[in-house]
């Protein structure tokens, strides 16, 4: 059997309930110790699962159940306190889309810089440049040499989405970004995601939209207050989540 693309073992991460970590020097010097209570909680604990190549996994759970934290650890932008999350191959994180973009530079410069950050060489970007701007749409194309901050926020996200999905990385992480963009663009995004899936990419999707989850994911993972409660076909997992949510509402 081929090795899993995403391998998560006993993953745990601990957060401070208070702002203790954000220490102030005055506090440390004057009070000798921190005034803030030092109790902690585990945002995620004992999480283990594998994702095989080409699988599409939807992550389900209420607010604060640790979905985004889990995604960040898989993306490698947060480090676990216990266990590990290993990814074989590079990741295209659709998490903070416009994170790598700078307002002062033009859209064109930004595309080169952000793609460079994700490991593309100049030649690779040259080759994909037209594809990126074709996807982002004609309005964006017309303003290629305009400072990035002059774009509307929707347009900014369009460019970022076009760029990250053009990177061609084997693993794609999506955190609630499908809700952005107007109707026409959303359809384009869906299409592109489907193309990526049929192209053998591994997809990891966080969403509250049952429609999106059912459309893309075959398998579901259900997180509830930091624990992995369910792992199975997406329909069953959604049903489990809904039953839990209804039970909570009733009690």
């Amino acid at each position: 059997m081929a090795k899993p693309v995403i391998e998560v073992r006993n993953l745990g991460i601990e957060f401070y309930r208070s702002r203790r970590r954000r220490m102030s020097l005055r506090e440390m010097v004057l009070k000798r110790q921190n005034s803030a209570p030092s109790d902690t909680f585990w945002a995620l604990r004992n999480i283990s699962f594998d994702v095989a190549k080409g699988e599409a996994v939807g992550l389900v759970g209420g607010n604060g159940s640790g979905k985004s934290t889990l995604l960040r650890m898989i993306a490698g932008v947060m480090l676990p306190d216990e266990g590990h999350a290993k990814v074989r191959g590079r990741v295209a994180p659709l998490i903070e889309l416009t994170g790598g973009f700078l307002g002062e530079l033009t859209a064109r410069e930004n595309v080169y810089l952000a793609a460079g950050l994700h490991g593309l060489t100049k030649e690779q970007i040259d080759a994909r440049f037209d594809e990126i701007f074709d996807f982002a749409g004609p309005q964006v194309q017309a303003g290629m040499d305009m400072p990035f901050r002059h774009f509307s926020s929707g347009m900014q996200v369009r460019i970022a989405f076009a760029l990250i999905t053009t990177l061609d990385q084997p693993v794609v992480l999506v955190d609630e970004v499908l809700a952005v963009g107007d109707r026409a663009f959303r359809e384009k995004c869906y299409e592109r995601m489907e193309n990526m899936l049929s192209g053998g990419k591994t997809l990891f999707l966080v969403s509250h939209s049952e429609h999106d989850l059912r459309r893309f994911a075959e398998r579901g993972l259900y997180l509830s207050s930091g624990e992995l409660k369910g792992d199975g076909p997406i329909d069953e997992v959604i049903a489990q989540y809904n039953a839990d949510a209804d039970a909570d509402a009733a009690s």
Binding site: L25, M78, G100, L105, G116, H118, G119
Partner: protein, 266 residues
């Protein structure tokens, strides 16, 4: 071995590093009309002020190496690079929080990138130092020594020292609110505790020993040795090399230790 894996990670991402440095320079020079002039103007004006104060007002006969203005220019330019490294690396992770959160790169990169970008700016100011040197050579007030070849060594040391201290400052500033203020005060004091305005051999012996504990003092010694005659203070140079290596190792340990906590905060 400490630091080796970090170094490998950085080398694997040198393309990204280049991109980031280019971005920094582009942003810095895109937004301002005078661009490069600002980098040169600040230390040049300060050199002028100190020159007037010490040679015309205090009329100190022996303020530093002669010609004193060249002494000031060499010192202030290198100090400016170092001081900017300190204040910028301490903000390196905070100011790029969005990027740090969204790109899976070795986090040391954010520190190295700042020092490199400032280093490029510094190298671009070297022609100004060269111009003054040529002027003083033509007027017969100074001549170059073979030790001028040590300049690259001093620059490499400044780079490594800044990266070492930066790897301590950057994560600590994320976790401790008022670190940025501390850095500012220490820098201001450090300016006088470094032989920028004066030269180390003018100080009484006790202070000379203390000065040798300041790594920038030995680095300046190396940097300036080609421009002025006189013996190099080998003790302070040796101590600068040792301290640089120690701080680099301490920095990489501290950085690795604090990294998980920093990523939670940012």
């Amino acid at each position: 071995m400490i630091g080796v894996s970090q170094f490998r990670g950085l080398m694997a991402n040198r393309q990204v590093l280049r991109t980031l440095v280019e971005r920094d320079l582009r942003v810095r020079y895109a937004g301002s009309v005078l661009g490069w002039v600002w980098t040169v103007l600040d230390p040049l004006l300060m050199a002028l002020v100190y020159f007037v104060v010490f040679t015309l007002i205090f009329t100190a006969r022996q303020a530093g190496h002669q010609p004193y203005f060249l002494h000031l220019v060499t010192g202030l330019f290198l100090w400016q690079w170092f001081a900017q490294n300190m204040s910028e690396t301490s903000r390196a992770l905070l100011s790029e929080a969005r990027l740090v959160r969204s790109a899976n790169l070795p986090r040391e990169l954010w520190v190295v990138r700042v020092v490199l970008a400032k280093g490029v700016e510094f190298v671009l100011t070297l022609p100004v130092i060269a111009a003054f040197t040529i002027f003083y050579m033509i007027t017969g007030q100074t001549k170059l020594h073979w030790t001028i070849v040590l300049i690259p060594v001093s620059l490499v040391l400044t780079f490594l020292l800044s990266v070492g201290i930066g790897m301590i400052l950057a994560p600590v500033t994320v976790l401790v609110n008022d670190m940025a203020r501390v850095v500012r005060i220490v820098l201001r004091l450090g300016f006088y505790a470094t032989p920028v305005l004066y030269s180390a051999d003018m100080a009484p012996p006790v202070l000379q020993t203390l000065l040798a504990l300041n790594p920038m003092s030995g680095i300046l010694e190396l940097f300036r040795s080609g421009f002025f005659k006189g013996e190099m203070n080998l003790l302070s140079v040796a101590s600068a090399v040792v301290l640089t290596i120690v701080l680099l190792l301490v920095g990489s340990v501290v950085f690795k230790r604090l990294e998980p906590a920093v990523l939670k905060e940012i």
